[in-house]
């Protein structure tokens, strides 16, 4: 409950900061936000696009949140998404299989690719105590350059050197009935995978021994070890699952929302996953709603930019500011505590004093 309040306050503060930015460049914030929300939710096809935009964020958010639970900071979701997407694209462009089998193989390839990319930092962390932040950043850039050379080398597009060949419609995650239902939106099966992933992750974290052990390692590595848990194995496993989730996000991004891979870009969705996880307080359900919010921001800014001259980077800026406020949530906690204290003091003189330094 308290986490939810802190998240909501962070969002409001981020939106206020975005409004100030609009004022700063001489635009009207009310008009800007009206167009932004219209652009994201005005009609059924736009809602579909918003949901599709949110899909990779659900995965990257889950990936970051899951690793966070084990006390690991997976900043490498971008690279894991790239490799997952590359693996799935490679499968789709190489093998000639019937659609259901092909999709399964693509998803598996994405899971394996992303998982492998996170396995290495996990292994280094467990065996050599190499800080996962630095090693995942390195893995990001290795992924970046791998895609940079593998795509033009093996899957070059017909027109552009900087793009992979376009996937045929039936080898992507898009399905005619969904596209029709949402009136031509690019929403795709990725969203269902995302929802399933949220449910499975919530189950693993809350209801299984594995989830309990992972959380225990996150709370206190030494205590977990003392209790007989295999800390190293859990660290590697947590990174593996986190990477697999990010890899799936890559599949949704590159073979669902898009149908080709561009080189020279680390997907920003990987970094946004950190914001999504923070805002969702590292719970799968929270991640889901945070991803939806960011989906609205991202898909709405295009329309806003078309209607009035506000650069679409506004969405990224708002999200970045939200992370900053989420990171400094101690401040919000302090203000809340003070607020509660004054209220309880005025209502009940003998009442308990608000807890101090809860964060």
């Amino acid at each position: 409950m308290r986490n939810t309040i802190v998240s909501l306050i962070s969002i409001v503060l981020g939106l206020i900061a975005g409004g100030l930015l609009m004022l700063f460049i001489g635009a009207s914030p009310i008009e800007g936000y009206t167009y932004l929300f219209q652009g994201a939710l005005k009609n059924i096809s736009r809602i579909g696009d918003t949901l599709a935009t949110a899909t990779p964020l659900i995965f990257s958010g889950l990936a970051v949140a899951f690793a966070f639970r084990t006390g690991l900071f997976n900043i490498g979701a971008s690279g894991q998404m790239l490799i997952g997407g590359l693996a799935a694209t490679a499968v789709a462009l190489t093998f000639d299989l019937s659609r259901p089998i092909l999709l399964i193989v693509m998803v598996l390839a994405g899971i394996i690719g992303g998982g492998l990319w996170a396995f290495i930092p996990g292994l280094f962390k467990a065996k050599f105590n190499v800080h996962e932040v630095v090693s995942t950043i390195m893995m990001n850039w290795i992924a970046y350059w791998t895609v940079y050379y593998v795509v033009p080398g093996y899957f070059k597009g017909e027109f552009l050197e900087t793009e992979s060949r376009k996937l045929a419609e039936e080898t992507t995650l898009r399905t005619p009935w969904l596209t029709e239902l949402f009136q031509g939106s690019y929403i795709n099966l990725g969203l269902f995978f995302g929802v399933i992933a949220v449910i499975i992750m919530a189950f693993i974290i809350n209801k299984t021994t594995l989830g309990f052990e992972l959380k225990a390692v996150g709370f206190n590595r030494h205590a977990a070890e003392y209790a007989g848990m295999k800390v190293n194995r859990n660290i590697i496993l947590s990174m593996l699952i986190s990477g697999a989730l990010a890899g799936l996000g890559g599949v949704a991004l590159y073979t669902g929302n898009a149908s080709s891979m561009q080189i020279g870009i680390l997907p920003s969705q990987g970094y946004d996953g950190i914001a999504v996880a923070l805002l969702g307080a590292n719970s799968p359900v929270g991640v889901f709603f945070a991803a939806l919010l960011f989906g609205i921001l991202y898909s709405g800014t295009g329309f806003m930019n078309a209607m009035i001259e506000i650069p679409p980077e506004l969405a990224n800026t708002i999200i970045a500011i939200i992370i900053y406020f989420a990171a400094t949530s101690v401040l919000i906690h302090r203000v809340l505590n003070k607020f509660r204290k004054t209220r309880s003091n005025s209502n009940d003189v003998d009442g308990p004093v608000g807890k101090k330094g809860e964060a």
Binding site: T317, A320, T328
Partner: protein, 316 residues
Amino acid sequence: MWTIIEQIFPYAIVFTIPLLITALGGLFSERSGIVNIGLEGLMISGAFASALTVNFLQDKMQGSSILWMGLLVAVVVGILFSLLHAFASINLSADQVISGTAINMIAMALTVFLARNITGSGNIRITSGFTPFDVPILSQIPIIGDLLFTKTYATTWFILLVLLVSAFILNKTKFGLRLKSCGEFPQAAQAAGINVVRIRYIGVMLSGALSGLGGGIIILTYAGEFTGSVSGLGFLALASLIFGQWRPLGILGATLFFGFASTIANVSQVIPELAVIPPIILKIFPYVVTLIALVIFSKSSQAPKAAGEPFDPGKR
């Protein structure tokens, strides 16, 4: 072979310098106990500030003074940005990695947002940057002259001077020792009467100043245009810091290594001897080497012991 080395050398040095100064900034921050993975963002903010300043002044003034003014503004903007990180991680005990990530994201998004609003395209071009020159007399020395003293930039010599001064400050002055003590054992430092909060603020602000300078130098020497990113150099600077084991001369060696590795990768296609190596190998080489170095150094890491931990005066 010799001609290749002779050709590559000046470019490699030019590429090394922004990396060096940014890593040096990171060194001040981490030695004071604050992990700063926002170096990339701080560099971007400096690059943006210098490009904007020079772009604004280039029609009104002549000469290289506007370039130095651009660098000065880059330093100031870098400091202002780093204050966000300092406030979050020192006053609010925020998770320093998350705060640093937020700095990166804010800088990346905000600079492009503003640049697009100013120029329409999101890119800011400058008409002329620093021009390379041959150092008189010294460039006549055989071998060394060709390698080190031809086609050099004024900024290169300036940054090397900053490096020397920094090494002196860190190892020989009272301030340097205090800074390092805050990164190793802040409670003891405080017991000895050192104001840990103030020292850490200075450390983070220095990292902002030097990273901003690094970003500015990229624009005003070899880039010539702000495009909204510094292509991961901030992260490479972070890797250099670890590779150089948090020592000024160590990071000089590490950044030179990365500078040469990147330059070789960039020019490999036009040099027949190097074209046989697949470019992907050359490109991922620095990152793979860093990973290997991390593993090798893991047992004997010289990382500041308190880096990344919020300062809690009550903890003993």
